[in-house]
């Protein structure tokens, strides 16, 4: 199995909890004999499969392992004569190895998984297809909004209007924060747009939002910022171009939603993100909204698989957003340096309470 070997052994030997089996898995019997796996050559269609392993020998062969390449995907134990063990895997087409360690002749066999339709319900798949298509347009929309807002921000900088530029700073970057994991996947663009001073490697030029932020708040001037404004416009244009028509997998939406909350915990709660302007709570909100959007697209599919988990996550999104409300002032939020340690801790714990169940979504969708 895909976890540490020692833990896997412990589990298989001692697990008493209900089996987390995949509904509708097809059963494939395999006997463990003193010779090894019987049969040692298997060919099955793709999809959820339960190997029902029965010990028909002595205690010489006690387990069956399924490997993809060198990675153990799962193990089933039948440690003494007559005992049965089960292993459920959702197998994609391809060639796998089966091992029955200790077998005299057929300790290693071949499992061929042929192209077929996984036994998932058609509706759930349609839900997921709708979710991923929806996310493509969400990202495109946020990127266009980013272009529009950055244009206004850049215009204020070029006009030398410091108060106006400060006013627009957090607002202009919010669409970026909503789709940050996608932006981060473009390793060249993300640092140009959003690097903080300590992220910049020696010899590289520091550009983007935070370079401008320092100029506006620390120097209190737009002097020399024009070229950064120009470049920021060009970089967000390129970002908008590159997200056109991108497609995503359901687990990427789930992991992205999760990643956005990781961003909140790692750099927003700590006040590291907007260290000159202290507009961290605006970024905080944008990260959460971006996460909520991705989750919302997955929710119909999730509800069919685990309605309780879906309900818990929805409720906790509401709690996190409600916890931000007391800090809202006008179009933005209070300066983050006025938010004390106990209040930051409360926000952090609310985010953790949401992130924990959210982290389970990708796994549930894979089932």
């Amino acid at each position: 199995m895909a976890v540490a070997g020692a833990a896997a052994l412990t589990l298989a030997a001692c697990g008493s909890e209900p089996d987390e089996e995949i509904a509708g898995a097809r059963e494939v019997p395999v006997a463990l004999t003193d010779a090894g796996c019987d049969p040692a050559t298997l060919s099955i269609p793709a999809g959820p499969t339960t190997f029902v392993v029965r010990n028909e020998g002595t205690e010489q062969v006690r387990e069956l392992e399924v490997l993809g390449g060198t990675r153990v995907l799962g193990e089933a134990y039948a440690t003494s004569p007559g005992r049965e063990g089960r292993l459920t895997l959702d197998l994609a087409p391809g060639r796998y190895t089966v091992n029955c360690p200790g077998g005299a002749e057929t300790a290693t066999g071949v499992l061929t998984v042929t192209g077929g339709t996984p036994a998932r319900t058609a509706t759930a798949d349609a839900d997921l297809a709708a979710a991923t298509a929806g996310y493509t347009s969400y990202v495109e929309m946020q990127a266009r909004e980013l272009q529009r807002r950055v244009r206004r921000f850049a215009t204020a900088i070029r006009a030398g209007d410091v108060p106006r530029a400060k006013e627009l700073f957090a607002w202009s970057r919010a669409p970026f924060e909503k789709i940050e994991p996608v932006a981060e996947s473009f390793g060249d663009l993300d640092p140009k747009i959003d690097a903080r001073v300590n992220d910049v490697a020696e010899g590289d030029r520091w550009t983007g939002f935070h370079r401008i932020e320092r100029g506006l708040w620390v120097d209190g001037s737009t002097e020399g910022l024009g070229r950064y404004a120009d470049q920021l416009e060009r970089d967000v244009d390129r970002l908008a171009e590159r997200v056109q028509g991108l497609t995503y997998k359901p687990e990427e939406l789930a992991n992205g939603a999760n990643g956005l909350l990781g961003e909140v915990s790692a750099s927003k709660i700590t006040g590291e993100e907007d260290r000159y302007s202290h507009t961290d709570l605006s970024d905080f909100e944008a990260n959460v909204l971006g996460s909520q959007a991705a989750f919302g697209l997955l929710a119909p599919a999730l509800r069919k698989r685990d309605p309780e988990l879906a309900a818990t996550i929805s409720r906790r999104f509401d709690s996190v957003l409600a916890a931000l409300e007391p800090y809202r002032r006008g179009d933005g939020f209070v300066s983050y340096d006025t938010v004390g340690e106990p209040e930051r801790r409360r926000l952090s714990q609310q985010v953790d309470a949401l992130a924990e169940p959210l982290s389970e979504v990708a796994g549930v969708l894979q089932r």
Partner: protein
């Protein structure tokens, strides 16, 4: 953006080729019995979780501690609390048997159900002891007022207290003790994870070395002042004394049968000041010899403490000596079961000194026993010059569990 190292490769994260779940067979073999002392299967480093009393009280003190206090979040219901205690009990029972906190699955798209750092480590005599704080029984919280333990109330302000609210109190306590610090940490971490959304951690304390013996078979360890303190601790072998001083009284609610009360105090030692005190002063402060641990009225550690013995300048054990003020003889026979640990939390940046001391834990039939002793110590103890009580908490400790059942089950019955 986050630092470069935390980049997530959003678009490149490939879905696993195969995912699934192991369908395990067999049963968890959890030893349980109704004996007074939880029996450890020999040679396994395993302490039985179930029994008449929770483990981790009279269990011979392990070397390491991770203690955590939690608050139940506003909005959580009585059902949430009951489910949390059931989930915690199940995970604790598994971890003390050396199993992952929750059963693992082979689904590579899901975060592992156990955090993994204890995989491959033996149970290391792990015990997990749960406590319930006074706040849980407040009116309008969980409808538990009628089942409040008779003797549970926040500790009163005590002389010489310098308490930090951020290191005090709490609705729930988890005391994880083990001979391996990673095993103890793993237990608290996984319970905190399981509790997310229902509880938040309020404070937490690591202890790196035991300072108490709870069995006559154990040596008395030294505290960070270099002294053996607590030689006359209550021990697991003194069955009658345990009944009198440790286990809950008959007038307690049914769910407290076999239970007790836990008092925790974070005692910061001003070790830099202590290290400048002469040996004479140090020995007069404790009332014991540093090298042998013997009382000043004897020559070996377990020699009787003769509080009446007179020397040329007055009593051999001075009036303010710690050993005198803490002795049952001068406290109407009160005895506590002490189970403390030395701690350091690194560096006190304000003072430029080591942040270290004693995380005092005592179990007793009535927290007033502690209050009584500490009131006296806080006023008169010569040690006060070198210590500060900076954290404080009290918890009711429910009785032990039957195999497969949650802790404090009858509280919700």
């Amino acid at each position: 953006m986050s630092a470069k190292v935390s980049r997530r490769g959003f678009l490149t994260a490939a879905g696993g080729a195969a995912a699934g779940a192991v369908a395990g067979a067999g049963l968890v073999a959890v030893a349980g019995d109704d004996d007074e002392t939880p029996a450890a299967p020999p040679g396994t480093g395993r302490v039985a979780f179930d029994g008449a009393h929770q483990a981790g009280i009279i269990t011979p003190a392990q070397d390491r501690l991770h203690f955590a206090a939690f608050d139940v979040v506003p909005g959580a219901t009585r059902a949430d609390l009951r489910e949390l205690l059931a989930a915690w009990t199940g995970a604790a029972r598994r971890m003390t048997a050396g199993l992952p906190a929750r059963p693992l699955t082979a689904n590579p798209a899901a975060p592992p159900a156990d955090t993994g750092e204890a995989a491959g480590l033996p149970p290391a005599r792990l015990t997990v002891t749960f406590g319930l704080g006074p706040g849980l029984f407040a009116a309008e919280r969980f409808g538990l007022t009628a089942r409040r333990p008779v003797r549970l109330a926040p500790l009163p302000a005590l002389p010489a207290d310098e308490l930090d609210p951020a290191r005090s109190g709490g609705d729930l306590a988890v005391q994880a003790c083990a001979d391996d610090p990673q095993v103890a940490f793993h237990a608290v971490r996984n319970l905190a994870r399981i509790g997310r959304g229902v509880v938040v951690m309020r404070w937490s304390q690591l202890g790196f070395g035991r300072t108490s013996s709870t069995s006559s078979a154990q040596e008395t360890p030294r505290n960070l002042m270099g002294f053996k303190d607590g030689t006359n601790n209550l021990t697991a072998e003194e069955t009658d004394e345990l009944r009198r001083h440790l286990w809950a009284a008959a007038d307690e609610p049914a769910w407290m049968a076999g239970g007790t009360y836990l008092v925790a105090r974070r005692i910061r030692m001003l070790i830099e000041v202590w290290d400048r005190a002469s040996l004479d002063d140090q020995e007069a402060t404790f009332g014991r010899r540093r090298a042998s641990g013997a009382p000043l009225t004897g020559s070996r550690e377990r020699d009787p403490v003769d509080l009446a013995a007179q020397g040329a300048d007055g009593p051999l054990i001075p009036p303010g000596a710690h050993i005198r003020l803490a002795a049952p003889e001068t406290n109407d026979g009160i005895r506590l079961l002490r189970r403390g640990y030395s701690f350091t939390d690194g560096f006190d940046a304000e003072l430029g000194q080591l942040d270290a001391g004693l995380f005092f834990v005592s179990f007793q039939r009535d927290p007033q026993a502690f209050v009584r002793v500490q009131t006296r110590l806080g006023r008169e103890d010569a040690l006060n010059e070198y210590i500060k009580h900076v954290g404080s908490a009290v918890f009711a400790v429910p009785g032990g569990t039957r195999p497969g059942r949650p802790v404090a089950e009858q509280l919700f019955a």
